[in-house]
Amino acid sequence: MIKIKDISKSFGDKMVLENISSEFDKGKTNLIIGSSGTGKSVLLKCIVGLISPDNGRVYYDLRNFTEADKEEKSEIRREIGMLFQGGALFDSKNVEENVMFPLDVLTKMPLDEKLDRANLCLKRVGLENVNKKAVSEISGGMKKRVGIARAIVNSPNYLFCDEPNSGLDPQTSILIDELIHEITHELDITTVVVTHDMNSVIGIGEKIIFLYKGHKLWEGNNADITHSGVAQLDDFVFANKVMSKMRSL
């Protein structure tokens, strides 16, 4: 479980996040949604500590991450897996080395064990026979999968994904969503996904928080999202053609 309390962040005099509080549950896919530029990525970066918030705290299972010293932060970060928007794979390494990398730096595992583990994860995300390929040789969807494999290789307790299906075709998007959803349940971890894709929201939104111009306007789940009564959220949800058709039926 991850708990955030009163997170605020501004860049210069531009307020990007204002007093965001919420809880992300264990064994669930938690979604942060909102339109472009509302501060979703900034919030995610505040949670993992890539950006330090001006105000507020982040707790990882009751451990205060925001006020932890460097050692404790490193300790918690070892339990974090993260999938970045563009994959963020190391282009100096091949697919297999990318997936093994967290094990290289965070564990003292012998090489054959690391290879086994990496292959297991690659298989889990549906990638086989690409081990030796360079990052530049694989497609966008494959990069996301490799990114997921790298994020889960060291058995994290917390998984973060920033727009896991941006730039992918609808079918691949759904596959990636389902993959994240299954892994979350399989490993019983706390997963936080940033997205603005309504397909993901309906498909895997077990807990959803809706950001609007740096404020949290709503929180709930995919069953309730279509009748939230929040005008801005309705605009967001029914901007999708299919959703608005369904609504008018």
Partner: protein, 243 residues
């Protein structure tokens, strides 16, 4: 001035929360190979030609029959050891290795690879930059020695080939009045320059913001700033050591 303060803080950050020695050993080795492969050929080519041209031009300027021919070789030696090998090659090193360090790190920054390292709990600046600096300090002096040798050989080949100096004159000129302190000066320069180039270029690349365009800008800025730093440092070192 603010940039200089940030640069100093950046250097400080390289030494906190480091990885194990074994990790660095491997990274440094990789960087050394990278630097060697990338620049050895260029260095050999450039310095051989510079040596050759210096010889011909020195000979051209020494028209007086009163000056013995071996002086040509002596002049070539002085210029190569003191300035051409360590300083001119540093400018080339900045253009070749410095710019590639800056653009490499800049690309890692804008594609979130550096963030990915940080999220894993790794001190990314230390992990990525320290090996580059150490490898540069190890490799650049070797490259300078290589250049010096190539330049002198270049001078020898051209000088004897077009008969402006005989092999015996050339060799005795190389030996005449040789002060081994010059080698100390040359090596001091190479250590200082390689540190400046690698750290400044890494600094510029590491703090890239934005997109592909900014990576290009960072890489140009890395070369420009390194070149200025080299020239300043050159002046200071010569003043301190050759008084």
């Amino acid at each position: 001035m603010k940039g200089f303060g940030r640069y100093m803080m950046f250097l400080g950050s390289l030494f906190v929360r480091r990885e194990t020695f074994a990790t660095y050993y491997k990274l440094i080795l990789e960087e050394c190979v990278q630097i060697g492969v990338n620049s050895a050929l260029l260095f050999i080519l450039v310095s051989t030609f510079i040596g050759a041209v210096t010889t011909v031009q020195t000979a051209f300027n020494m028209v007086s029959p009163l000056i013995p021919r071996f002086v040509i070789a002596q002049v070539v030696r002085e210029m190569v050891v003191l300035e051409l090998a360590p300083t001119i090659m540093a400018l080339i090193y900045a253009g070749k290795i410095g710019s590639s360090m800056a653009s490499g790190l800049g690309t890692m920054r804008i594609t979130e690879q550096i963030d990915a390292l940080e999220v894993m709990g790794i001190n990314s600046s230390s992990y990525l930059v320290l090996p580059k600096i150490v490898a540069s300090i190890l490799m650049y002096p070797l490259l300078v020695v290589l250049s010096g040798v190539c330049a002198i050989i270049g001078g020898y080949i051209v000088g004897t080939f077009i008969h402006i100096i005989t092999p015996t004159e050339y060799v005795s000129g190389l030996r005449f009045g040789f002060n081994s302190f010059e080698i100390v000066v040359a090596l001091t320069k190479s250590v200082v320059f390689s540190f400046l180039i690698s750290s400044i270029s890494s600094f510029k690349g590491y703090f890239t913001k934005g997109g592909a365009l900014e990576v290009g800008i960072a890489s140009t800025a890395a070369v420009t700033t390194s070149v200025i730093a080299i020239l300043l440092a050159d002046y200071i070192i010569v003043n301190l050591l050759l008084q």
